[in-house]
């Protein structure tokens, strides 16, 4: 084993340090991620969150005008929150589907960031009943 101070080790050490620095820089500027919550966990969160849950109630309104109104409930509970959303509505969106949407809770209404509505697309289809 020739020489203790191999340049390779120097590169690795410096690069790891550089990568960590970039990483820390990012997390210190942008903070952690967006909290991902179900309706029952919403209370007390003033900032932007991503709301996850099942679409409940009949969606009404116009997503390209005043906004689409619907309810999102917890996956395994009935707690729900009214949502108003503007922008593209995914193909899979309908009552009973699991969706994710970003936004903020304002006066009991979850105001979604336009264009952030995403449906989870299950590969299994329950037969029509």
């Amino acid at each position: 084993m020739p020489g203790k101070r191999s340049p390779a080790r120097l590169i690795v050490a410096l690069s790891v340090a550089a990568v960590l620095a970039v990483f820390l820089l990012y997390t210190s500027i942008a903070g952690g991620g967006t909290p991902s919550l179900q309706p029952s966990q919403l209370a007390g969160h003033a900032g932007r969150v991503s709301l996850v849950g099942i679409v409940a109630g009949q969606p009404s309104g116009d997503a390209h005008a005043a906004g689409l109104h619907f309810l999102i409930r917890d996956r395994h509970a009935m707690t729900s929150v009214p949502v108003v959303y503007k922008g593209s509505v995914p193909d899979m969106f309908k009552t009973g589907r699991e969706v994710v949407v970003d936004g903020k809770l304002r006066h009991g209404m979850f105001v979604a960031v336009p264009g952030t509505l995403v449906t989870k697309c299950p590969s299994k289809y329950t037969p029509k009943k």
């Binding site: 390779a8 990012y26 942008a30 952690g32 193909d91 289809y125 329950t126 029509k128």
Partner: protein, 662 residues
């Protein structure tokens, strides 16, 4: 028949367990016949898995809804093609495909190695056997594709976004990639288990790794294209966990393909290479796990399923076992040479490796962030596009630049004077392009300008490499320009194939930067007769049209596109309503401009009852270069993969010579 399917899978499982146990015993105690028997078990397992595959395909083709799997993923009206591709539309079928492909790879690798490297495979067989046993175990005990039920009148149908020609090629290609990474892993582990200090395993798996990596790359690009033309939100990559799942092992494999060259040329980085192989394999298993377990919120996550914990356990086992093995063999992996200079080809490869791994790991961090944050703070949090874009820019752009620098730097050491000379032209070209771009108004996106400047630099390097190589070859005499060029490439396929792949990556970078940094988006509600203008194109909405087609109703918005008074044609974005699946799917319309490489992307976002349409239109410059990059990528990979008889003979002599003499 379903009983036969189950029996075939049980047979596969038993054979694979035998291959693992008997193979390990034979390798440990050096029993030749037992080792051969274990190899044969692997081959027999391939056969019995093939029987299971055929049974499932037959059941699908015959609409036999007494198979739960068939009933859940197809319906009577589903066209035959999609009925067959529904094979990998669900979890159980996908796992069966995994096992089938893995057995196929194992058989191929073992049979070709039988000829070329008999002495390395004794330990490779049990390693392959263990991995395959895991999947066979899942198929037998946890998620059987042959579960039966009382047959319903009709099936539930296939997800409309899976009813697409891409469905026929994208998943199998990805699987060929994911699963293919098992081969280098098995050989690396096999070499360590056998305490081999030579590079036989690298030579034996070179082509397998390259093929798996190429499949994974092409599979991803096809997936991106699928998303682009089918899913219809105007993008091709969304940093979704399932997309990242394929990107991470690809990045790790890319790093390996580069660093393994340093081991071959200089005998260094042995530990690092083995670790990269392990990383790539674990990431590919993790990718399958992500896609299949639904543990992380994703747009294409599949229903929460019972196989999650098994996968997690297997990943932990593989990681722990392989790290322990590497650790126990550290003395064998000691390098005899070392890096001579920080300015050398080796060093640039090392930088490239660290960046690739850093990129893969930051993506991994982003993917598992929800799980980590939930474990630490009790509340899941997700990171999204800005996070990934930030790291793509901070690691991807330097990588792009390195792709240009690397080929210009000599092995071992390069003096700065020599570098100045070789860098002159590419740098001049890049600077000229940068200034021209700024003058043309591309400064609206700083990252875009940087990416383009770097791209020009890399392209100039590649052209220069080919040109200088050809000139030097011709100077040796005896050949014309064409002959010099072909003999240059033919004599060093990996290097020049690699340069072609680099060119593909540059095209990709140009396409991605163009279509994301410089795109225009407009969204307007149009009544029949109304028009909108997007990036110089005038779009006039002429009203809806509706028609019935097989298993769906198609609604189309007729949109006439004009540019500067010239009529460019009628485009028909719309929606399809599927009956059996009770689903709507967006059908976008795209106008390709082959001259500029840009697309006019039209989405009928919302069809209103009053006859108006909410039309979303995106002008995406240069996006077609991404797909062109795919073709170039395939071409480069093929050059690198193409067998070189002379090279084969030389390697065969090297290894046979030593073994025979003894």
């Amino acid at each position: 028949m379903p009983d036969l399917g189950r029996a075939a899978l049980v047979t596969s499982f038993l054979l694979l367990v035998y291959a693992s146990a008997a193979g390990a015993f034979a390798a440990w105690h050096g029993r030749r016949r037992l080792a051969e028997s274990a190899q044969n078990a692997l081959i027999a397992a391939f056969g019995s898995t093939a029987v299971a595959v055929v049974i499932l395909l037959t059941a699908l083709a015959r609409h036999d809804f007494s198979y739960t799997y068939v009933a859940q993923h197809t319906s009577r009206e589903l066209p035959l093609g999609y009925t067959l591709t529904a094979f990998w539309g669900g979890q159980e079928g996908s796992l069966l495909l995994w096992l089938f492909v893995l057995c196929g790879y194992s058989v191929a690798a073992v049979l070709t190695a039988r000829r070329a490297g008999r002495e390395v495979i004794a330990w490779v067989v049990p390693v392959l056997g263990v991995v395959a046993s895991f999947f066979a175990f899942l198929l037998v005990f946890v998620a059987s594709p042959f579960a039966t039920q009382a047959a319903p009148a009709d099936g539930a149908g296939l997800n409309p976004s899976l009813q697409n020609p891409y469905m026929a090629v994208h998943p199998p290609l990805l699987y060929l990639g994911y699963v293919g990474l098992t081969v280098p892993f098995a050989f690396a582990m096999g070499a360590l288990l056998a305490r081999r200090t030579d590079e036989r395993w690298i030579v034996a798996t070179r082509r397998w790794t390259l093929a798996a990596w190429a499949f994974l790359g092409v599979g991803q690009l096809l997936g991106a294209h699928w998303a682009y033309v089918e899913i219809g939100w105007g993008g091709y990559y969304a940093w979704d966990p399932v997309e990242n799942a394929a990107l991470m092992p690809w990045l790790a494999a890319t790093a390996f393909l580069h660093s393994v060259m340093i081991q071959e040329k200089r005998g260094m980085l042995k530990v690092w290479n083995v670790l990269l192989v392990v990383l790539a394999f674990c990431l590919s298993i993790f990718g399958t796990f992500l896609t299949r377990s639904g543990i992380i919120q994703s747009i294409h996550s599949f229903t929460q399923s019972s196989i999650g914990p098994w996968f997690l356990g297997f990943i932990c086992f593989v990681t722990a076992a392989s790290l322990a093995l590497v650790f126990s063999r550290l003395p064998l992996l000691r390098a005899k040479t070392r890096l001579e200079s920080l300015v050398s080809r080796e060093a640039t490869f090392l930088y490239n490796n660290l960046l690739l791994v850093a990129l893969a790991l930051t993506i991994l961090w982003g993917v598992i962030y929800p799980l980590l944050s939930e474990a630490v703070t009790g509340e899941a949090a997700t990171v999204s596009k800005p996070y990934y874009n930030f790291f793509l820019h901070s690691f991807g752009l330097p990588l792009l630049l390195l792709m240009g620098i690397g080929p210009l730097v000599a092995w071992r050491r390069a003096s700065l004077r020599a570098l100045g000379k070789t860098f002159l032209w590419p740098t001049a070209a890049a600077l000229t392009a940068g200034v021209a771009l700024l003058a043309a108004g591309a400064g609206s996106s700083r990252i875009g300008v940087i990416a383009y400047t770097f791209s020009v630099f890399v392209l100039a390097t590649i052209v220069l490499e080919f040109a200088r190589g050809t000139t030097a070859r011709k100077a040796l005499g005896g050949v014309g320009w064409g002959g010099a060029f072909t003999s240059l490439v033919a004599r060093n396929r990996r290097r020049y194939g690699g340069y072609v792949v680099h060119a593909a990556v540059v095209l990709l970078a140009i396409g991605v930067a163009g279509s994301s940094a410089y795109q225009t988006v407009r969204e307007t509600r149009l009544h029949p007769g109304d028009s909108m203008t997007v990036a110089g194109n005038r779009l006039v909405f002429r009203g809806f049209e509706s028609s019935l087609a097989g298993n769906h109703r198609a609604i189309r918005a007729n949109v006439d596109v004009y540019r500067g008074g010239e009529y460019l044609g009628r485009y028909r974005p719309g929606k399809n309503q599927y009956f059996a699946e009770d689903q709507v799917s967006n059908e976008v319309s795209i106008r390709h401009d082959l001259l500029t490489g840009g697309d006019l992307f039209m989405i009928a976002d919302q069809v209103n009852t009053d006859g108006s349409v909410d039309l979303k239109v995106l002008q995406k410059p240069l996006v077609n270069l991404i797909w062109l990059a795919g073709l170039v990528f395939v071409g480069g990979s093929l050059i690198a993969l193409w067998p070189d008889a002379r090279e084969e003979r030389r390697l065969a002599e090297r290894y046979e010579g030593v073994t025979v003499r003894a």
